[in-house]
């Protein structure tokens, strides 16, 4: 398993300031070819972990090996060489608003090589066909719906046939049809490209339907891991509450506050 891992996180600690660590002793391995979910509620550190994987942050302690190399050892050139083998789907697509759909998908191809225009066209159409939007090639990003924008961004992130695809909250704000399309695309693209996918999300139920393996995070730590079935039947109270969307459990409904009666000044009467 260790040999075949495309991402290996070992004993990673990270904090934006030294006093408050966001990640605390994270250990995980992402095997080549798998679709792996990193799940948990907002603020649990999962997006920070994603930024550690994409080497936007370096661990303050521990090591992160991505595509076989520790991210701490990468200079700018090596970092960019590594990122050329990675694709990233941002939460809201992050399409370039001054470029058409076609030019958005062509952007990474143009930036990293001097291919003839005909070949670029074929590659772009291939990627747009894969996400079902070949017919929308000439539209501008402002003319697309949220789901279509997400698919174009997905086509752009796979333009260079990446080995590792990272998804940051790919299901947020999608209608059921767009959601179904994205789920199917994540699986299909992963398998057809022979890539590895990491999905960071709080849409647990939806994500469990597509991933091979899941890590569950809370308070900056991995508190559970396993196959989707193992996560669904987990006895861990937090996972149980989260997966089933229960009000009762270790995560309170109320944000910590002073006594309700005292706040309404009812104590005296």
């Amino acid at each position: 398993m260790q040999q075949a891992s495309i991402v290996e996180i070992e004993g990673v600690w990270f904090g934006y300031d030294a006093a408050r660590p966001v990640l605390r002793d994270i250990n995980l391995a992402i095997p080549r070819g798998a679709v792996v979910g990193i799940m948990g509620q907002s603020g649990c550190g999962k997006t920070t972990l994603l930024r550690i994987i994409m080497a936007a942050h370096l661990p303050t302690r521990g090591s992160a090996r991505v595509l076989g190399r520790p991210t701490q050892d990468l200079d700018r050139e090596a970092l960019y060489a590594m990122r050329r083998k990675m694709g990233m789907l941002f939460q809201f697509g992050a399409l370039f608003t001054d470029l058409s759909v076609y030019e958005n998908v062509a952007f990474p191809i143009r930036e990293h090589g001097e291919l003839p225009e005909e070949l670029i066209r074929d590659l772009v159409m291939l990627k747009l066909q894969a996400v079902g939007l070949r017919g929308a090639a000439q539209l501008m990003p402002t003319e697309l719906s949220g789901g279509m924008g997400r698919r174009v961004a997905l086509a752009r992130s796979i333009a260079l046939d990446p080995q590792l695809i990272l998804y940051d909250e790919p299901f947020t704000g999608l209608d059921p049809i767009s959601f179904g399309v994205i789920v199917r695309l994540i699986r299909e693209l992963n398998d057809s490209l022979g890539a590895t996918s990491v999905i960071v999300t709080h849409d647990v139920q939806e994500a469990l339907g597509v991933v091979d393996y899941a890590y569950f995070m809370a308070g900056g730590q991995v508190i559970a891991q396993g196959t989707p079935d193992e996560i669904r039947s987990s006895a861990e109270p937090f996972v149980n509450q989260f997966v089933n969307g229960k009000l009762e459990g270790p995560v309170p409904f109320h944000y910590p506050a002073p006594d309700y009666g005292a706040d309404l000044e009812l104590a005296a009467s």
Binding site: Y80, R83, M88, A94, L95, F96, T97, F107
Partner: protein, 276 residues
């Protein structure tokens, strides 16, 4: 109460004020240093902007060509007002034929670069800041980073060079339009002799001392305005409020920078032996 405690009580607010003053000064110096490093990094990573020159040409269009209307119309009116006011004063001394000299020197030495610079800051500088700031807020710059494309080289440097190229051209057009406005009012409306207007202007305006110095001024203003604009955009907090504040700061800071630099450059260029 012990004297030491008394002293402490008096010193406490003073210390607070000094600390605030110190931290304000430090943060401004730090920011200036950061902006200078940013400029250095951008210049060092301008290879893409120069190699793929059409990226820079596109920015010359956005910063320069789209500013033409406001620059030309303003230049025309400034020249016309200069001629009206100048004639009023010159005729008292029987020197109304020198109107052409007054209009041309005022424009090429001062008003051309300065007013065009101020207009450029509010029209193109604010647009550059807002565009880069919004690209940052909508994660477009992060997306480029993730595609192994340096946003400073791909987005910022072409905008910088586009602005630097546009500004002297705009200032020259402003001055030309102003002189034409001066001619319309002075010669066509008031009736100053056309021959005197043009020949005195030709005799008094020196290519090196006046026109070249004006071009140098406008180039310096172009660098200052575009540098401030791209830096403020790149450094803006990725929120609506952050981008709006950065845009305002661009206009305010670059206007003040233009006026301060103009004083320094004028002192260096047009005093002593250089003055005509």
């Amino acid at each position: 109460m012990l004297p030491l405690e008394k002293l402490e009580k008096i010193a406490q607010p003073l210390r607070g004020r000094l600390e605030r003053l110190g931290s304000t000064v430090t943060s401004h110096v730090w920011r200036l240093g950061f902006a200078s490093r940013f400029l250095f990094y951008m210049v060092m990573h301008s290879g893409t902007a120069l190699r793929r020159f059409r990226l820079t040409i596109a920015e010359v269009y956005f910063a320069g060509v789209l500013s033409l209307i406001i620059i030309l119309v303003s230049g025309l009116f400034v020249g016309m007002v200069l001629a009206l006011q100048g004639y009023e004063t010159l005729q008292r001394f029987g020197a109304s034929e020198s109107l052409g000299v007054l209009v041309a020197l005022s424009l090429v030495r001062e008003l051309g670069p300065v007013v065009a610079g101020l207009l450029f800051a509010s029209r193109a500088g604010s647009a550059i800041t807002a565009e880069i700031g919004l690209m940052k807020a909508t994660e477009q710059l992060s997306a480029m980073e993730m595609m192994a494309v340096d946003p400073v080289a791909r987005v910022v440097a072409p905008r910088f060079w586009g602005g630097v190229i546009s500004m002297p051209l705009l200032a020259a057009l402003f001055s030309a339009m102003g002189i034409f406005g001066g001619y319309l009012v002075g010669v066509q409306l008031i009736g100053v002799d056309a021959g005197a207007f043009w020949s005195q202007m030709q005799a008094a305006v020196d290519l090196r001392n006046d026109i070249m110095n004006g071009v140098i001024k406008s180039a310096v203003f172009g660098v200052a305005v575009t540098w401030i604009a791209v830096f403020e955009g790149y450094d803006a907090p990725p929120t609506a409020e952050g981008v709006s504040r950065a845009t305002t700061r661009t206009v305010v800071t670059s206007s003040l920078a233009i006026l301060a630099l103009d004083f320094v450059l004028t002192a260096l260029m047009f005093t002593g032996g250089n003055a005509q």
